[in-house]
Chain length 220, copies 6
């Protein structure tokens, strides 16, 4: 199960950045394991970006129903473990909520992997020079590695509005995320992206193989 | 906007048949026109098939919210005409319901094209020897034309339970659609499929070009 | 279970046309069989007409809940077969959706009969001179047969906007269905209506008697 | 707008008691005034009775949507005052909730008349010998006046379980309302019913005429 | 379970009047019995007042979900009887609706006590000089007894618009409830309030002790 | 606006831990500033704990409606800034979702403060000896500072199941959070709690004063 978003990623990255990366990983992992891969769900909760051109956002209540229906259908088929490989921040809590309802009364377990947070941590620490963000050095490098044809590095310019607390305000979306950006993409390279993607792939393969052996990722 | 389903199509066709075909057409059409293409929505209302292996179905109320959110987001971007290229029967009414709500208070129009019904009619009449159905001669020919690697013609066997009226009964789904089939796929050929797809593509290009000229498909 | 709508039918037919006809049939059939008849549900999804005077429309999501609650209640009483005798187009898919949910986990079956499509086909072919429609020759003849006091034939005038594809557009409803009409009512007669209604009644009696014998309308 | 229920009324009254009476009144009143009458909504929230045979209940959330859609549609047509003539207790609060949402942002007003409580008070006090209830002396008399063919007085037997507080308990519905009854129907007569119905009709005509003069029923 | 509202109560009573009183009673009763007390739910359906300053209202559909979730959670813990001690009129029907759904399939029972109606009736009859209302003599006396620091008796002035029928109209809320008032608070005293609260407390203790003995408040 | 939960916190902390702490802070802050304080919402999304005794959880969809209704009501009163002081993890994303919808079309902004994460960071780093958790050293110290009467330190015992990824599984809730615990509470002291609470209070006062001056917490 792959979840992402269709939303503005500055002027230099494709709208589909948040689904291109995890879908790429999922395909790689599925090929190396016996896992079945569901078709990726291309839309997510992109409220913060839907004042920007090209963003198509689902409301959280819509997304909750989609994830729940999909998880329920899969668990009903007798599959016990679902890995939700997520590529977009606001989807994470909705995946959790959906998984709560979907596993109710079943023996199934759903493992939520926010791929940009939960895997390739060391690789990221090693190669990245600036903090992670939205259309920042990390995402730009990753798309450069996976779909370089969709990147226009000449348009990549830094933008980062720092807040002390989380501010939610419909009328201030452009002000808080200028040009649909949060980060410093200029230093991105395909090389960095490849390092991250490879590490992510390796760690995910390990997770899935562990699940195929009936073992959840619980530390002893 | 491309809508389909992930559901059993007999033993010889891929689960994604209903999305593979319209997605193929949409890509062709988008390339020949200036139309923007949204990422296909891979799941549909497949209730009739969700007792069969591999089907992942969204409830109608879920699908209604998804279509409505997507249409609303697109219309809000200033786009006036949306073609909903649909590949799956039960989605059609839900697209209509979503379009009703999404165009309320806007100048937009949504054109729903049930591609297996509304285009390539003459081509179908010419090449098909048996009635259309689900995983029948028509769909099998089409996938043979588009993704032959996903078809196992040796497994294609006829099944068709005829009813005088529409019967809806959860406990009779296997009885009404044996092996997730409705039709006679044995006579399918890639050639027939190509003829249908080409005609469909041509007619859709004409529709989109007409819309690009600001004209709705209203007969004079 | 009888479902219809309260909506504009040109200047010559009553708002209740879509419920008057099936309710008339249901009463006739109930009297000739042992079937129980539920009180008709007078409102339907009349979005396309609710810019016209007198239309009272329920949203699809409302109608879905109504049909589902009614079906669920009836099935819970131990009744196995429900015939949904429907008089209004957009209700059909919603009846299907409701029946999917209502029969889940039960042994019941719901037979959806769109009476203007599924019965009296031969009778219609024989007597009608113009294509069927909304407030067209067919419906006008039928109400002339059943409730002539509610028809004003002098106000019946042709209107029919032809479209190549289904167009849904809130701001174009008057343009697409001028005067809430689609068809040519001038040639309607009570005689034609009687022929249709009698054939419909006969076929429905046959269906209900078959169900009373525990047999679903499945062809051998 | 007429609202009622389809639910058990002891062994002597028809299921439709709660809609038969207000629909009768509404027709009378509509004939004597210029008011338009909507088709009655035959189902209500009959949860307390839906363990009894013949009851078809809508869930409160369904009913809320139905009432809201109907009220909204009517107010949108430019009608300012709607009288909701209600024949069933649990509907009352739902009508209020629907009216809150439907009048939001409009100049309209909805007058809710629980006819068994709000009109014919004096007439009731004069003719009734036992307290009002469900299928009790009052309702039995009223149906005897309006539809005597649907009453079986020989089956009318008293039942009344008194509680100090409102108890809601799915598993105790039969215990709290034995035989779907609450009251003493044996002393009912058509004469009493006629007196009540006539008074109710007169008071409702007065209300509607007052509204037709643009005046709400506010005491000076 | 204690339910109330946060809404305007004239110029002399606190917004929390409808929750302060029942919460005070619940604490008293819980201390004298073995009953567990849930934290009070401070918001209610205050639509009629939400044009007045300080009112925070939940929509009926929201409140229904809250009550249902809370009741379901408590019943699932193995608790059989829940007393819903309600301090606000429009909440009553919603509590009933929630209790219907929550007790479905369980052995539990929910007793709804609208404390201003169902207890201390005799005490009220004895001490009150004017009819009960909203921020009227009764409520003002009660808050004077419980939280005198929150009352400004100098601001208490009579207001009461009488209607013959229930009128629901968003644009007439200020007209129907001037200054968020309905009643005559001038004659309120702490003494009257104490008498009412003491009687209410005694009767509620009796109810809860009866429930602790496994007996519902059903008259013999 | 204060949000929390009613859920198991090991054997040594009160069910209301997640609401007691932020409510304490909110009262302190309200007294030192001109901010208005809403009554705390005592229930949250406690799905992970609702197999443990005493937990009363609201579903995410319920909570979303509650937060949205409250935020909408407050913004409609002309208040521009709302601080949502949250004491419970899973509420955070729901507050965000609610704030998205509530600020749509308004000039308002909602600042979400997850108090255990966003304030008193330095104080926590200074005094805590073990990682933060659920009923761990941090929360135990805080309740010892605020409501020592509700803590039973003798029952405090360590429990912490570590997972590599987020696992959601209804049937594994006890296994993943043994005794409703996650952390090492034995080293908790009131002194540590006081240091944290004081720092939190100071930082929140600063935030609110900044907002009272019309300035959002955006770094320059």
């Amino acid at each position: 199960m792959v979840t992402g978003a269709l939303e503005t990623h500055g002027d230099h990255l494709p709208l589909g950045t948040d689904i291109i990366n995890p879908a790429y990983l999922a395909e790689k992992v599925a090929r190396k394991t016996k896992a079945l891969m569901l078709p990726p769900i291309p839309f997510g909760d992109s409220w913060s970006f839907d004042v920007f051109k090209g963003t198509v956002s689902l409301r959280p209540e819509t997304l909750l129903m989609v994830y729940r229906d999909v998880m329920t259908a899969v668990l009903r088929q007798g599959i016990t473990f679902i890995v939700a490989l997520n590529g977009h921040g606001p989807n994470a809590a909705i995946l959790q909520q959906a998984a709560q309802a979907a596993t109710e009364g079943s023996a199934g377990a759903i493992i939520i992997v926010n791929w940009w947070l939960d895997v390739a941590k060391e690789a990221r620490a090693k190669v990245l020079q600036t903090p992670e963000g939205h259309a920042a050095e990390d995402e730009t490098s990753e798309v450069l590695a996976v779909r370089p044809d969709l990147v226009d590095l000449t348009a990549a310019r830094k933008a980062r509005v720092r807040t002390e607390f989380r501010i939610v305000s419909a009328s201030r979306r452009e002000a808080l995320l200028p040009r649909g950006m949060y980060g410093e993409p200029e230093t991105a390279t395909a090389e960095k992206g490849k390092t991250i993607m490879q590490a992510a792939e390796d760690e995910l393969v390990r997770l899935v193989q562990q699940l195929e052996n009936g073992k959840l990722p619980i530390a002893d």
